[in-house]
């Protein structure tokens, strides 16, 4: 759960939070591409460090650390698998550059997690929905997205209540063999589905009553407009990408092993 925890939005205000989600997304994709260009530790480390100012400007260090910690398991898994393949595939020997290669691959993963978590930690789902709407995604999709986000905590609470209700009627979820255990979930799933259906009917009714589908050209209370900061971020993205492409093709990147 902790990876998701790190990706959960918390209301806050900062230069980073106020950036246009579309540009932030372009930035994340930019970093993503740059990270894919390299399999050496030094440039990846540079990409990693480059994003730290965003984390601090947005004041989300703590949540950001938590999402990295959540990713740590997967990262060590990637690292170990790489080491293992090199070891068993390469004649039961392990060179320092094998280790460095595995470390670089792991670092690439960390950079990706880092940039995505900065994006999600500083972009409200509302903003994201708005960005979807204004990126010519059909409104129905954007609406479905924000409504889904809206009902996540409600459904979580409801599931808890249903579990409580069945537990008080003597249901023990952890009892019995595998088959029995799966069957134990029926008394929880059915009420959950039934009330989800009831809920969606009520939602549809409320939407209809508030003129859903009244006209083709919907307006919007908020609009996204690009500000100075957004252009700066766009500039930074272009510089990172250009630098990365240049380095990839024209610079011989030293490995740590070489440097030593």
């Amino acid at each position: 759960m902790s990876v998701f925890d790190g990706l959960k939005f918390r209301k806050a205000n900062s230069i980073i939070h106020n950036l246009d989600p579309r540009i932030k997304f372009v930035y994340v994709i930019g970093v993503f591409i740059a990270a894919l260009l390299f399999l050496q530790i030094i440039p990846l480390l540079a990409l990693f460090v480059l994003q730290l100012p965003f984390v601090f400007l947005a004041r989300v260090q703590r949540q950001w650390l938590r999402s990295l910690r959540g990713a740590a398991f997967l990262a060590s898994f990637i690292f170990l698998i790489n080491i293992a393949t090199n070891f068993f595939g390469g004649g039961y020997t392990l060179t320092p550059s094998d280790i460095e290669g595995a470390a670089a691959l792991t670092l690439r993963f960390v950079v990706l997690v880092e940039s995505f978590s900065v994006f999600f930690l500083t972009t409200s789902p509302d903003h994201l929905g708005l960005a979807l709407e204004q990126s010519r995604v059909p409104y129905e999709f954007a609406f479905a997205f924000t409504t889904a986000v809206r009902f996540v905590p409600v459904l979580a609470e409801e599931t808890q209540t249903i579990m409580d209700a069945q537990k008080t009627r003597g249901l023990e979820l952890e009892k019995g063999n595998v088959l029995k255990r799966i069957r134990n979930y029926i008394p929880i799933l059915i009420p959950l589905i039934v009330s989800a259906i009831r809920r969606s009917l009520e939602l549809a009714e409320a939407m209809e009553s508030r003129a859903w589908g009244a006209c083709k050209r919907r307006t919007n209370l908020y609009t996204l407009r690009l500000h100075k900061g957004d252009y700066v971020l766009l500039g930074i993205t272009v510089v990172i990408l250009a630098g990365a492409i240049y380095a990839h093709y024209f610079v011989t990147i030293p490995t740590i092993v070489n440097l030593l």
């Binding site: 809920r199 939602l203 209809e208 009553s209 508030r210 009244a214 006209c215 050209r217 307006t219």
Partner: protein, 281 residues
């Protein structure tokens, strides 16, 4: 012509044999505060759905009779056309808010009909102020109390500046103080903005004092209708299983013992207390 006029309405939900509404005729004038009550399953909720065309457009089924709301025949006009005239507020506050911020929810209807942003901002702010939730407009619906959620639901239909607001048991999930605040908001809209209110409620203890037109339904039909003082004095109302407000009941019990407190049947504790004080002066 009355603002809402229903003539000989009979409606049956699809897949059901018995009609939920049977031969109902009512007239509601502009500016009235109408209270509809009756035991569970009497057809109150179905009647509410007729006011903005959810019945029959959303629910389908078989319908006979005439419904005219704000001069529009709802049988020929889709619910989204009625949304400008009739606002519906439902029982469960949770399932009528879909956005991630309150003001976005309040704007939802206006967005759908394509109001310009400047005008929308004005109307949204007005609705937020009227319902007393302006200060929490940027919060998410999950972070606020049920009472506040229900006020958001009211604001979101109010922003459309409707002629009529219909509320189907809007306070049944709320504690009494939050409920009172909701009723105060509705009453103010009725008095100050001249919006016609149709309120469906079981709990007359809390609501009888606001109304000037009481409708009692039972088994799909309108059984009694008129001045709430007359309707509540009628023995039949009690027999149908309507919870008469305790103050009204006490007045009637005293009257039976020849203890007369005047001819006006009280609708709430204040009226009754005043009548007692007046009598004993």
């Amino acid at each position: 012509m009355a603002l809402i006029e229903i003539k000989n309405l009979t409606y049956t939900y699809p897949g059901v044999s018995k009609p939920s509404i049977h031969d109902v005729s009512i007239k509601i004038e502009k500016g009235e505060f109408v209270l509809i009550t009756g035991p569970s399953g009497c057809g109150k909720t179905t009647l509410c759905r007729c006011f903005n065309g959810l019945v029959p457009h959303f629910y389908q089924g078989e319908i006979k009779g005439e419904i005219t709301v704000a001069g529009i025949n709802t049988l020929d006009h889709h619910t989204y056309e009625m949304a400008k005239h009739v606002g519906l507020v439902f029982q469960n506050p949770e399932n009528q808010l879909f956005a991630l911020s309150i003001e976005k929810d309040v704007a939802f209807g206006l967005e759908n009909v394509g109001v310009s942003r400047e005008e929308m901002r004005k109307k949204v702010d007005w609705a937020l102020h009227q319902t007393g939730i302006y200060d929490i407009r940027e919060r998410s619906p999950h972070e606020i109390s049920g009472g506040q959620q229900q006020r958001v639901a009211i604001a979101s239909v109010l922003a459309m500046e409707p002629d009529i607001i219909v509320l189907d048991e809007p306070t049944s999930f709320l504690d009494p103080l939050s409920a009172e605040k909701i009723f105060d908001v509705i009453y103010k809209l009725n008095k100050e903005q001249g919006i016609t209110v149709v309120l469906v409620e079981h709990r007359l203890d809390l609501t009888a004092k606001y109304t000037n037109h009481l409708i009692v339904m039972d088994q799909g039909a309108v059984r009694l209708e008129g001045d709430p003082r007359d309707v509540l004095s009628n023995e039949e109302t009690r027999l149908i299983g309507v919870g008469i407000p305790k103050a009204t009941l006490l007045y009637q019990m005293l009257k039976k013992e020849d203890y007369s407190l005047g001819n006006k049947t009280p609708l709430g504790s204040e009226e009754l207390a005043d009548q007692i004080l007046e009598t004993l002066k």
